[in-house]
Symmetry: C2
Subunit: 387 residues, 2 copies
């Protein structure tokens, strides 16, 4: 299968590219390297030095693990539609895994500039991909990364993208109503609506993966070579909850739980992201189908998560405190949460549970870079509230 | 009350500005004159020559009907946030009526360029307005024009923006799920989600007016002076159903019903648009409230509408034929349709029904410009379907 990974320089894009290549698929990666600019703008870096994408692709190709060398396209899918058209005309993918978006909720809440640029970037990029697919690869399968954060925390069970609504004696199957929590999450909601429309009117096939919070940094392929690693963030902007807690534990800083910590979210191991994306690709959506999978394996409250990290840290001799800090976000800190995630399991997902061993593995890796942790970038400064 | 009209050069923006000014409000209008560019790009013009906005404002102000002269700001709310910030800092409105968007579904379906520019323009402009309001007029009321087309044609009753969903024994009040029919309609759905978020996190107050198809060209104020008229379109791009049929009847062309004509939509007289917007402004949303009104007065199928125009035309001695043409859009041509519109009536709306007199009045006005009708711009060429 020919698989195009959009956003191949990112935390998940790069491991996904290697994952497919290692399994015999022909892979191309595309990226505008925009994440490296956003990191510079925010003054943060991944914990481990990440070689340029060009170098990682070269190293991968020298290992000769795939049937063909991985192809690399550098360009911007949002600002340069001719780049996107060239990409699809040249590579002609069977499946497209689309990670190529500004990925941070706090970034989108910094100010007007970041809010607007996040939405323009994410929405335009996805529209350009839809038009390029319509033109060059109308039968290809678009696998789009969304987020569980699109749903918010409604007082009813969260279904997988669609819900049968019975209202005043009549019924319809409708898109599940969304209540996203940031301008970033909103951009993903906009994408979902645009993609559903393209499926409806052009007969495109798409799977929207509403992903939970991803943790971890190692996959089978990143472990093959020290320079094939992926971007691991622990800062307030790009660091997700568990990754950030793990670094705080190693740095001897209290784990900063936002507010009461009763916020419950879906989580998954980075290895399971790869498995889920592969399952989606191997079981493609039907012509005209806009299919949604909720992509997480376990749900925890933020406070539960902090306690798990504290326990694992203490088993390694670290002294770990937990601090409830003022919540920079506006979100319910105690709420009903029962999202469905059966679709991917029914396709065969075998998940990696969040065990103490997994957390200890992360902590040990982080300890090897303890000295370079930038403690000034971890605690929240970006606030949702009107200043 | 200080009322800011965004999109004051448009079909509805200009009559709205005069309507408020004539009723003793202090009014400012802003526009980037973008609609005049889009008209040029598509090769279409309004039926009657529309003087520059600057001239119309001057004529209005010379009539001294308002308490203060109407203010005019020329600039782009989507591309120039400093213009938007200046607007709010300088004028400090109590209410903002936001029409300043690319308003055509067919325009948004012309090609990739128009799809992307419509969404970027509409979404960025609204985001800039939200940030400007947060900064300078956080207590002001945003009255945003949406469209009934955001809902599509679900098989359940269409409520006004929100719906109480009962699902597996639990309940929540959620945004009504949308199934918009074009990239333009999608842009309005994106706006609604962004505005709901701003109300939720910043405590802004907003009314989203999901408006039906507007017809007519005359209001109390446009009738005051021959140069105070508003932009009346009959072309495939900017002409709405009834307006287009009326011009076809006068031009001796068959009324082009798209497909079977069973498509049912909400309609309203342009005079009632002004009344509805005024009712929204005089009864403002509460702090933090995202309120939605469905703004139409009567529902008709497209075929019903064609028959009404045919009857009125024949009463005036015109020879009117109806032709079912291939539907350029992708939409259901027979469907359930029961949208609610009680909120505005309960605030006191007294509507102008679509009588034969009303249609005959439109036809007579159009007859006075029969010779300048550009017949080549009326029949549909923009297609929704994958070519």
């Amino acid at each position: 299968m020919k698989i195009l990974i959009l956003g191949g320089d990112g935390y998940l894009g790069w491991p996904t590219a290697m994952h497919f290549a290692a399994r015999g698929h022909e892979v191309a990666v595309a990226d505008n390297l925009g994440k490296r600019f956003w990191e510079a703008e925010m003054g943060v870096t991944p914990l481990f030095h990440i070689p340029p994408l060009q170098r990682r692709v070269r190293i991968w190709n020298e290992m000769k693990r795939g049937p063909k060398p991985m192809k690399l396209y550098i360009g911007d899918i949002a600002q340069n539609h001719r780049f996107v058209y060239h990409l699809f005309e040249d590579f002609r993918p069977d499946a497209v895994v689309h990670y190529a978006e500004q990925p941070s909720a706090p970034y989108s809440m910094v100010s007007r500039l970041q809010a607007v640029s996040t939405q323009v970037n994410n929405v335009s990029g996805t529209l350009n991909v839809l038009f390029a697919m319509k033109r060059y690869t109308p039968a290809a399968h678009l696998i789009k990364l969304g987020t569980m954060g699109e749903y918010g925390t409604p007082n009813i069970d969260i279904e997988e993208g669609w819900i049968e609504i019975e209202h005043k004696g009549r019924k319809d199957r409708m898109l599940f109503p969304k209540q996203p929590g940031s301008f970033y999450h909103l951009s993903k909601v906009h994408d979902s609506h645009n993609i559903e429309f393209a499926c409806r009117i052009w007969g495109m096939r798409s799977t929207d993966l509403n992903q939970g919070v991803v943790y971890g940094m190692e996959t089978d392929e990143t472990a093959m070579h020290p320079e094939l690693l992926t971007s691991f963030h622990y800062d307030e902007i790009f660091g997700t909850a568990l990754n950030r807690f793990a670094v705080q534990a190693v740095a001897g800083m209290p784990l900063t739980v936002y507010g009461a910590g009763g916020q419950t979210r879906g989580f998954l191991n980075i290895r399971d992201t790869l498995q889920c994306v592969e399952l989606a690709a191997m079981n493609q959506a039907k012509e005209g189908e806009f299919r949604v999978f909720n992509q997480f394996t376990e749900a925890f409250s933020v406070m539960d998560l902090a306690h798990k990290v504290k326990e694992a840290g203490e088993a390694l001799g670290l002294n770990v405190a937990i601090a409830n800090v003022e919540n920079p976000r506006i979100e319910k800190e105690a709420h009903y949460y029962n999202p469905k995630n059966t679709a991917l399991f029914s396709l065969g997902l075998k998940h990696h549970p969040l065990t103490q061993d997994v957390i200890m593995g992360m902590l040990k890796k982080i300890m090897s870079s303890r000295d370079v942790i930038d403690r000034a970038t971890i605690n929240p400064t970006v606030k949702w509230r009107k200043s």
